[in-house]
């Protein structure tokens, strides 16, 4: 089957080329297709008859790309029942992606499924000096053996590495005198906020990747706004210089209805 080019216009159906179960409740779907790519960008994944949701590109090389999905609600659970050869609709990529400057010494801080966008960053970034990954427990650690840079782990239950938060490890590194030109973080919003605060305290710029409910993916419908920012278009990656002005960062988000609510209320029905 010849595939039409994937664009940010109407979805194009692609066959799952391979499916890899990462660990409890996570799987990676591979597609044979070369997307125009930058780490941190995302695609909209459509399961006809069900729904369409944004997913970060978690792997990208010459002739394939992948998304890594955590089973949460109806959609992601259904996505994980897909098998090799099944068709899925894709449009994109969307969003800005991470800002990368060669030669910068960088820390990468991933929480749970927040590993997905950071994985391609780590694949592409030459100068990671610290790579921190936190998860609920050992079984939830993504992509073992993938990266050349070793990760420092932490888990909620202490089953692997430090028992505690990724910010503990980041702070330790900073306090121990390690120099970072940039910190990249993705995970639960509260975690990203804590990373941001820590970075501000120590005068280190950071970039985090936000998540909001999305419809269009290209900055028109307003579903994903966060203060003055349009997450799908201006983001999903935001730099410290933006975050300082984003009073809704870690405080507010819009429900599907457009209702503005506290983040806790928002995440009570959204993933995490």
């Amino acid at each position: 089957m010849m595939t039409n080019p994937i664009t940010d216009q109407k979805p194009v159906m692609l066959r799952v080329m391979e499916k890899k179960t990462e660990n409890t409740g996570f799987a990676t779907l591979f597609f044979e297709y070369s997307l125009p790519f930058r780490p941190g960008r995302f695609i909209m994944v459509w399961i006809p008859g069900l729904d369409e949701k944004p997913y970060t590109i978690s792997l990208h090389d010459q002739d394939r790309f992948a998304v890594t999905i955590e089973a949460k609600g109806i959609f992601s659970k259904k996505a994980l029942t897909l098998e090799k050869g099944d068709l899925i609709g894709i449009r994109g990529p969307f969003g800005n992606g991470f800002e990368i400057k060669p030669g910068q010494s960088a820390a990468v801080v991933a929480g749970g499924c927040g590993m997905a966008p950071l994985a391609t960053l780590a694949d592409h970034l030459p100068d990671i000096t610290t790579f921190i990954h936190g998860a609920r427990s050992k079984e939830f650690i993504l992509f073992p053996g993938r990266f050349s840079v070793p990760r420092e782990f932490c888990t909620d239950d202490g089953s692997l590495g430090h028992k505690g938060l990724v910010t503990d490890l980041l702070e330790k590194n900073i306090v121990l005198g390690k120099h970072f030109d940039m910190v990249y973080a993705c995970g639960p919003e509260i975690m990203m906020y804590k990373v941001f605060e820590l970075c501000e305290t120590h005068g280190i710029p950071c970039q985090v990747s936000l998540e909001r409910y999305m419809r269009c993916g290209f900055g028109v419908c307003g579903a994903c706004v966060c203060g003055k920012q349009v997450v799908c278009k201006d983001g999903p990656v935001f730099h410290s210089r933006d975050l300082r002005k984003m009073k809704d960062f870690n405080t507010k988000a819009l429900l599907k209805s457009g209702k503005e609510v506290d983040l806790s209320q928002y995440f009570s029905w959204r993933c995490q």
Binding site: D8, Q9, K10, P11, M13, M44, W46, P48, G49, L50, D51, E52, K53, L87, G89, R91, M214, R215, C216, G217, F218, G219, V220, C221, G222, A223, V225, G227, K228, V230, D248, L254, L255, K256, S257, G258, K259, E260
Partner: protein
Amino acid sequence: MSIRFLHKILKNPTVLASGILGNSKDILERVHENGCGLMTLKSIGPEPRDGHKNPTVIDLGCGMINAVGLPSPGYLNMENEWEALENRNFPIIASVYGSSIDEYRKVAEYVSSKKPDFIEINISCPNSEKHGMIFGINRESSRDVVSAVKKVISVPLIVKLTPQAPDIADIARTCEDAGADAICAINTLGPGMVIDIESKRPVLSFKKGGLSGPMIKPVAVRCVFDIYKAVSIPIIGLGGITTGEDAVEMVMAGASLVGIGTAVRYRGIEVFQKVAGEMDDWLADHALSLTDIKGAAHNE
């Protein structure tokens, strides 16, 4: 290019179309900072509604198709938003929808108490089986909803029409007679449908959706042209406007203000200052004013 529209002085004739970028004060403020003269809020309905499942908004290259499904927090659940908007330094239109005259009246009356600069009633939305559309294609229902709403609000009333009306000029005239202070035309065209042939399914979860953007501009221009001949109240013309030249064309058809929606996709939030600037440049080049060109396409 500051311009008077009913009781308000606007910094320029560009208007943010309803349903684009939403209702929160921050984002509207950004649109204003990016050169927009008048900001329309996403249509507010009687009940909380999540809208349809995705896909809801798809770009088609020469425009978009959408069936967002009128998501709304419901008019009683927007206190935060109203509170924030109280201290705004920019003018807004609050857009309202309902599925009965009572609902329109109830929502509009409440919204009026929040003192937006204008209220627009969306009697034209094609995205929901139950809501809106029916009002805007029929003379009697248009009249009844306009006069009902007019009685209960204390700000000027704009009526937003659908190009699906067999005779849009007639509907506009009816609305004027019933008390409308301005007309907004057009809402999305269609509805249309896009089928993905691999999955053999309509791409939108709601199957059908309204068309917007450059591909609907000729229909929008024709509607505004027809309405201009029929009414003497001002018209907000929208549908496909992407450049200053498009805006000039719409003004020549008879529009007083020009709405912009889908073009945010193609030219970013900056589209407002770009279009306003291009209009200015065009007028300067031709030594003309907005007033000179308004309705100019009607001259023989």
